[in-house]
Structures are given as C-alpha cells and as structure tokens.
C-alpha cells in the first residue's frame, strides 16, 4: 500500500476541534458529527478537521499525547520493552504528521514535538527491522505483531511477506514435487 493510502485510512480517526460557528449535527454516511457550538470542543474525523481548519472555521486541539514529555516517555518505554508497546493512537505517526502540519501557528515548540514523534518512530522502526531479521533467521512462519500500527506494518510490506513466501517455496523444493505444482498448492 502507498503511504498516502494508509493516510487515507488514518484520516477516519477523530480529533477535537473548537469551531467558530454554530450548526446542528451533520449526518454523514459514516456517522453523525456535531452539533457545532462556537467555542465548544467537538470530535470530528481528521479529514474534516483539516478541511474546516483550511477554511478557517475552527482551531484544532492537538491530542494530549502530542506533547514533548509524553512522547519522550513513550520512547523510553519503547526502548525498555522487549515487545512493541501500545501507542496512544493506532495511527500516531499519520495523525501527528497531519495535525502538526495544520496547526503550525497554534502550538508552541512545534519543532520539538515533531522531533519527538520522529524519534519515537525511529526507535520502533529499528526495533521492527531487527525483529524481522531475527524472525526470518529463526525459520518461523507465524509471528504475533500486537500494537504495530498500520504505517509500521506497511513499512515492511511486501518485503517481509515476500521473503517468507520465498523461504516457503525453497523449503518445499526438496519435497520433489513436479515443477508446475509449486504454484498450484
């Protein structure tokens, strides 16, 4: 999948905005949003938040985890843990990227936050890479991947599944099956 498609999926996540207008609940096919009361926070999908913000109809409230100290703590926890730790959002990286690019003027220390998100991502990705390598070397065919986010999974696709498919084909070669049957299993 292209990263922009993962982004498309992540845009369904909800964030808080503070609208500067009043409107009754909007009945979207994907569910109700609103009502909107000027000055009162309301939860909307990310794609809508970005659109309203672009039209200067709202202020986006950054999720509480989008904070230097909290992100640092998450990174330390990630480093200390053998397994992947649970992220505050299933799409933390995408949500951070999108929100941070949209709220540039509203949030102080934005560069620091951006850096902290990137650091967290880097720690997890390098952990993912070594687990993938260990997994391949172990010869296993099944692994549990709890708490990996879609963008992270996508970063080892198709490399990991294709490598496993390939090893599977190599292993089956000694079974002496006729050539054509390889693909027909």
């Amino acid at each position: 999948m292209d990263p922009s498609e993962v982004e498309f999926i992540a845009e369904k996540e909800r964030v808080s905005i503070v609208p500067n207008f009043n409107n009754a609940t909007v009945h979207l096919i994907s569910g109700d949003v609103g009502p909107f009361r000027a000055g009162l926070p309301v939860n909307v999908p990310v794609w809508m938040a970005l659109n309203l913000r672009q039209r200067q109809k709202c202020r986006i409230l950054a999720p509480d985890w989008l904070d230097v100290d909290k992100l640092e703590a998450l990174k330390e926890e990630e480093k200390a843990s053998k397994y992947f730790t649970k992220m505050p959002s299933e799409h933390y990286m995408v949500v951070a990227q999108l929100i941070l690019s949209a709220v540039e003027d509203d949030i102080p220390r934005i560069e620091e936050i951006r850096m902290a998100v990137k650091n967290l991502w880097d720690v997890r990705i390098s952990k993912l890479r070594s687990s993938v390598d260990t997994f391949i070397k172990s010869g296993g065919s099944h692994a549990r991947l709890d708490y990996l986010t879609t963008m992270e999974i996508n970063s080892v696709r198709p490399l990991l599944p294709h490598a496993l498919d390939f090893i599977d084909r190599l292993n089956k070669a000694s079974e002496g099956a006729p050539r054509r049957d390889l693909s027909q299993d």
Binding site: V26, I29, N51, L145, L164, S174, R180
Partner: protein, 219 residues
C-alpha cells in the same frame, strides 16, 4: 438548521434485518482491505456496493438542494469522494485478480456453482470476455503459425494460480482457536490460538475461511 437526511435510511441485508448506511460503509471498507491483501478472490460484496451507490446518489441529490455557501456542502462532497475512492479501489483490486488469474477463477467459480458465486454478474461477464480475448489474441499472434500439435490454447496451464500459502498480516476480530499452521521440512505442524484483537503475520491458507466469514480482518 437541522440536517434532515442521512442516517435515517435503512437497508435490508436480504434476511430482512435492517442495516444502517454506516454499517454498509464499514462492511465495504473491511471488504476493500481484505480484497487488497488477499492472494485469492473473495466473495463479491456487489449488493453492498450497489446499496452504497444508491446512498451516494441520494446524498448527492440532497446536497444539491443546499445553499451554495452552506458549510455542509463541502463536507458531504468530501465524504462522498472518500467513499467513491474506497469502492473504486475495491472493484479495481478484484478486476486485477480476475485479469491475472482468469482461468483459475472461472474454474473455481464453476466448481462452486451459481448459488455460491464469488463473482458479481458483471465480473463474470468480464472474466469470460477477457479469457476469450486472450485466446483469440494467442491464436492470432502465435498458435495459428505453429505446427498443429502445438496449436491448443491451454488457459489453465498459462494462467497464474494464486499462491494460497502467501503470508498476510491480520487482526482477529474475535477469538479464533486451533488454527493449524503447516510445518515444513524441519518443523512440525503448529497449532495457534488467535486472541481477539491480536495481530499476526502468517500464511493465508489456514485462515482463509475466517477471512470469508468476517472473524479475521486482513491489515
């Protein structure tokens, strides 16, 4: 002003059970990702697609009645564009598989019989036409020019067969017990339980039926 259209429309899923448009959309979104990541062609969700297309059309008519400067116009348009993307991408994934594995898919479809059809009506016509075009193309280009013993068009030999042993990423939507992973030359068969909400990478074959019945979501 109250927004008077949208979620009060209900559909029937064929068993007389009403489903909300929201639920239809969610089913399609799941079907889209499953189809994208599944090596094999999954049962068609053509009914849901048709149902959502009607919903989109109705929504468009309603939105056209709104004043141009109403803030909802753009929001609704954006949502409709998103839904359309999901549907086209879903249908395109299926067509891609049909083009790639034409003979195999038609063969499997024939084995299943018309009651358990995986292809929509349109897809079936497309698959048959596509195979006929391929045959015609092969004959015109090559086969008619080679000696008679080699002139047969052999679609099953030439068409790709999906590798059901391909590895996929998945999330269990409910507990699934006793999934058997076939061993290879130096490991035995292994039985695993997939806990609700856990994520895994493994071969598609042992979990194929769970993807089809909706217990497992490909991710």
């Amino acid at each position: 002003m109250e927004d008077t259209f949208g979620d009060d429309d209900f559909f029937s899923d064929g068993d007389g059970e009403p489903i909300t448009a929201q639920k239809v959309l969610q089913t399609l979104e799941e079907a889209w990702l499953n189809e994208k990541f599944c090596p094999d062609l999954l049962p068609s969700q053509a009914d849901y697609v048709e149902c959502m297309m009607e919903q989109i059309q109705q929504m468009e008519e309603n939105v056209n009645k709104l004043k141009k400067n109403d803030f909802r116009v753009e929001v609704h348009h954006m949502e409709l564009a998103r839904i359309r993307y999901t549907i086209t991408s879903y249908l395109r994934s299926r067509l891609e598989k049909i083009e790639k594995n034409t003979a195999y898919i038609l063969e499997q479809e024939a084995l299943r019989g018309p009651e358990n059809s995986y292809l929509s009506e349109g897809e079936l016509i497309f698959a048959r036409d596509f195979l006929a075009l391929q045959e015609n193309h092969c004959k015109q280009l090559v086969l008619q020019h080679v000696p008679p013993p080699f002139q047969d068009f052999m679609p099953t030999q030439q068409s790709l067969v999906p590798n059901l042993r391909s590895h996929v990423f998945l999330r269990a939507k409910k507990d699934v017990d006793g999934v058997v992973i076939e061993g290879d030359r130096d490991s035995r068969d292994e039985e695993v339980d997939l806990e609700e909400n856990s994520q895994h990478i493994m071969q598609y074959k042992p979990i194929a039926n769970f993807v089809k019945d909706g217990t497992i979501q490909l991710i």
